[in-house]
């Protein structure tokens, strides 16, 4: 592995964690698509910043881009406030317009400079090691790594220092307001952080990967835990997993790194969606099946209790009859009986008759009287 490889992977991890942290709050606040809007419209800020500074590496670009991101959020809110457009429509109107202006400006006036549309949208993390920070001739590493590292640090600091405030504003905005935290201040402060992070990540990996890394890992982590600190840690970890595995898949198959990382964040999310211990789809199916069996065996015990000590029991308390009586399918009835036997609710006597155990009788009585 070369130094460049290591640098790319380090950058990938820093970007992934840096995006996942604010992403947690976006997902919790149901504002996931704000990341989509911001990551597109910051292009306009970059273009305008470029026209002013005439230098693609100027820090002015980062500032201008961050400001456009916040402006996007403000415009969406302004449009929504007129009550003439719903919020989702407002998002869908604002960012394509800003993005369109940027694309037209680029293709009209900046085609010959180094503002490649594809690179902007799709990002090419493989080139990140070529743009280096040099101070008086000394090589200090890739520019993106410094920028994104600083943004990751900013995220960590803001989230640690304002943990209480962010948590409260996220889960109980009304109480936060009542306690004197200005909702506008929290909102726009947080949006500035998201916007700056998106700008840094956008520089490294392009706008679409920003969305993938901000939403997919936190959404996956949200299926794994209910505690905010754990959610933040898990999101960072899952983001790292997606970024690194994406990088290696891209290396192996020689395909777009950003695309591969986005795909892997989808794979990670899908895996969690299916196999999460409590909230996964598989776990859900299993617990539904268990509940169905448990309910059916309670039905069985009450049925047996009803006919217990009665001549009809000879006919009613047989496996074959259950299929008819409860309309249980051929393989479901034996499974219910097996389940009830295992729970010690019933026993099968020599003649194939099902009888309640004292425990089963107790359970059935309890069901009937509660």
């Amino acid at each position: 592995m070369t130094v460049a490889d290591l640098e790319i992977q380090l950058l990938a991890v820093v970007v992934a964690v840096g995006c996942a942290l604010p992403g947690v709050f976006l997902v919790l606040r149901r504002m996931a698509l704000v990341s989509d809007a911001i990551s597109h419209s910051i292009l306009l800020g970059i273009v305008l910043g470029f026209f002013i500074a005439e230098d693609i590496t100027s820090p002015l670009l980062v500032g201008a881009a961050t400001a456009t991101g916040v402006l996007t959020v403000a415009l969406v809110e302004l449009l929504h406030r007129t009550r003439r457009v719903k919020e989702d429509a407002a998002i869908a109107l604002v960012f394509p317009a800003l993005f369109s202006i940027a694309v037209i400006l680029i293709s009209r006036f900046a085609e010959d400079v180094h503002l490649d549309l594809d690179a902007v949208l799709l990002g090419e993390i493989a080139f990140a090691p070529f743009r280096r920070v040099q101070i008086s001739g000394a090589d200090l590493g890739p520019r993106s790594l410094w920028l994104m590292g600083a943004l990751l640090a900013a995220n960590l600091i803001v989230i640690t220092v304002f943990f209480k405030e962010l948590k409260l504003a996220t889960f109980d905005a009304g109480l936060a307001h009542a306690l004197g935290f200005s909702p506008a201040l929290v909102h726009y402060g947080f949006m500035t952080l998201v916007s700056a992070t998106a700008v840094g990540a956008f520089d490294a990996v392009g706008s679409i990967l920003v969305v993938a890394l901000m939403i997919a890992p936190p959404a996956a982590a949200y299926l794994l835990t209910n505690r905010l600190p754990r959610l933040l840690l898990l999101s960072g970890a899952l983001g790292t997993l997606a970024a690194l595995s994406g990088y290696w898949v891209a290396r192996a198959a020689d395909v777009s790194i950003a695309g591969s990382m986005a795909s892997m964040s989808g794979v990670v999310f899908l895996a969690v969606l299916l196999f999460a211990p409590d909230r996964g789809i598989v776990a859900g199916m299993r617990s539904r099946a268990r509940q169905k069996l448990a309910f059916a065996s309670v039905m069985l015990t009450t049925h047996l209790l009803h006919h217990e000590g009665d001549p009809s029991a000879e006919r009613e308390s047989r496996e074959a009859h259950l299929q008819e009586h409860f309309r249980w399918s051929g393989d479901f009835a034996p499974r219910v009986i097996w389940h009830a036997e295992r729970q010690g609710l019933i026993v099968r006597d020599g003649g194939g008759l099902l009888r309640l155990t004292p425990l089963g009788r107790e359970a059935a009585r309890h069901q009937m009287t509660r």
Partner: protein, 388 residues
């Protein structure tokens, strides 16, 4: 180029005619179907669908080796359709909210699309331009047979819309009622979303994956401001979409270095801005005017009431003049007292007995009583009564 020359070109030049007809047709279809997306709060679903279509385009090319537009569009439609099903699946089967599900589908499908495109570009037959125009769109690449495809699929989509108009309308505005009278909401949902997918993928070639969602939302949002009737809205959105489509395609064909998609989007967004400001009932300008009128009305009613109260202090002498200063004091410097008086004068309810001194007219007296009754549900104290 003058407008006349432009019209002449559209009529005579083959390419220009093809491109403008094609873009107008897809704009019309997108606008009409976008109304339902907008009203059903699915504006961002369009964004997810159009991004999700990218891997479909790439895979269709990889699997068939064909660059024929119908093949690529079919691939796009399948992928976009799959994307919406995944969004639905995530929302139904987990506690992930819809916005997160949309964000995940949008970015992951698009990312996978990039992977597929990098694979496709290694094919010797892959003319790069062919697939990459799908990112930002290039209306100039529309051929006559592409336009035919747009017109045929678009017309079929609009036809389905017309045939199931009642059902879709009910689904949009009162879903519970639709279910209660025995319509299958799920099936209608899927069908309507399918039509939306069709409208979106038709536009990908000309407008591009990234911006197609705006062509769905913007004409509908603009049309919504002008009317409260669904059929008018759908028709208007279709017309606006067609104008934006044709206008954007023409502009970008003639000015060098202007991509089509963004131009179309900006025209459509401009229409939204104009409609938000200028629409007769919902427009912000007309709301401003209405608010101003109401404010003036309230102020002059207040002054009328004050004049009445003053008249009550002078029983039997209705015409007794009162100085403006008194009225101003009674209005507690709410301002506009003079203007209100002029207004009342114009209505014939007050008159300036001598400069700066005013009194009610007989009509004004009646009007003040009427207003008092309307407001408080009781008769106003008579002016001729005892001095208080």
């Amino acid at each position: 180029m003058s407008l006349g020359e432009l019209v002449g070109l559209v009529l005579t030049d083959y390419t220009v005619r093809t491109v403008s007809i094609g873009s107008a047709a897809l704009g019309a279809v997108a606008g009409a179907l976008g109304c339902f997306a907008l009203l059903r709060r699915q504006s961002l679903l369009g964004d997810a669908i159009s991004h999700a279509a990218l891997p479909g385009i790439g895979l269709a090319f990889l699997l068939t080796g064909s660059r024929a537009v119908p093949v690529l569009v079919l691939g796009a439609a399948l992928a976009g359709w799959l994307g919406t099903l995944v969004v639905l699946g995530i929302v139904r089967n987990s506690r992930i909210s819809e916005d997160s599900a949309l964000g995940i589908v949008l970015s992951v499908f698009f990312g996978f699309g990039l992977v597929v495109l990098t694979l496709a570009q290694r094919r010797p037959t892959a003319a790069q331009a062919g697939l990459e125009t799908f990112l930002f769109g290039q209306a100039a690449t529309l051929l006559e047979r592409d336009v035919a495809l747009i017109v045929v699929v678009g017309t079929s989509a609009v036809l389905v819309l017309a045939l199931l108009w009642k059902e879709f309308k009910l689904l949009t505005f009162d879903r519970e009622f639709a279910v209660s009278i025995g319509l299958s909401a799920t099936r209608l949902d899927l069908l309507l979303t399918g039509l939306l997918v069709a409208a979106i993928v038709l536009g990908l070639q000309a407008v591009g994956v990234v911006l197609m969602s705006a062509l769905i939302v913007a004409p509908a949002a603009a049309a919504r401001q002008w009317t409260n009737s669904l059929s008018v809205m759908v028709g208007l959105a279709g017309v606006l979409g067609a104008i934006a489509g044709a206008g954007g395609a023409l502009l970008s064909s003639f000015a060098s270095g202007i991509p089509t998609g963004p131009t179309i989007v900006l025209i459509a967004t401009g229409a939204v801005g104009f409609s938000l400001l200028a629409a007769p009932e919902r427009g912000l300008a007309s709301r401003l005017v209405r608010d101003l009128r109401t404010r003036r009305r309230v102020l002059s009613d207040g002054v009328l009431g004050d004049l009445y109260a003053l008249a009550c202090q002078h029983p039997g002498r209705t015409g007794h003049p009162h100085p403006v200063a008194v009225l101003k004091a009674m209005q507690r410097s709410r301002g506009g007292v003079e203007r209100s008086l002029r207004r009342l004068e114009a209505d014939g309810w007050a008159r300036e007995v001598q400069p700066g001194e005013w009194s009610l007219t007989t009509a004004g007296l009646a009007r003040a009583r009427e207003g008092f009754r309307a407001e408080l549900g009781a008769d106003a104290p008579p002016v001729t009564g005892q001095r208080r």
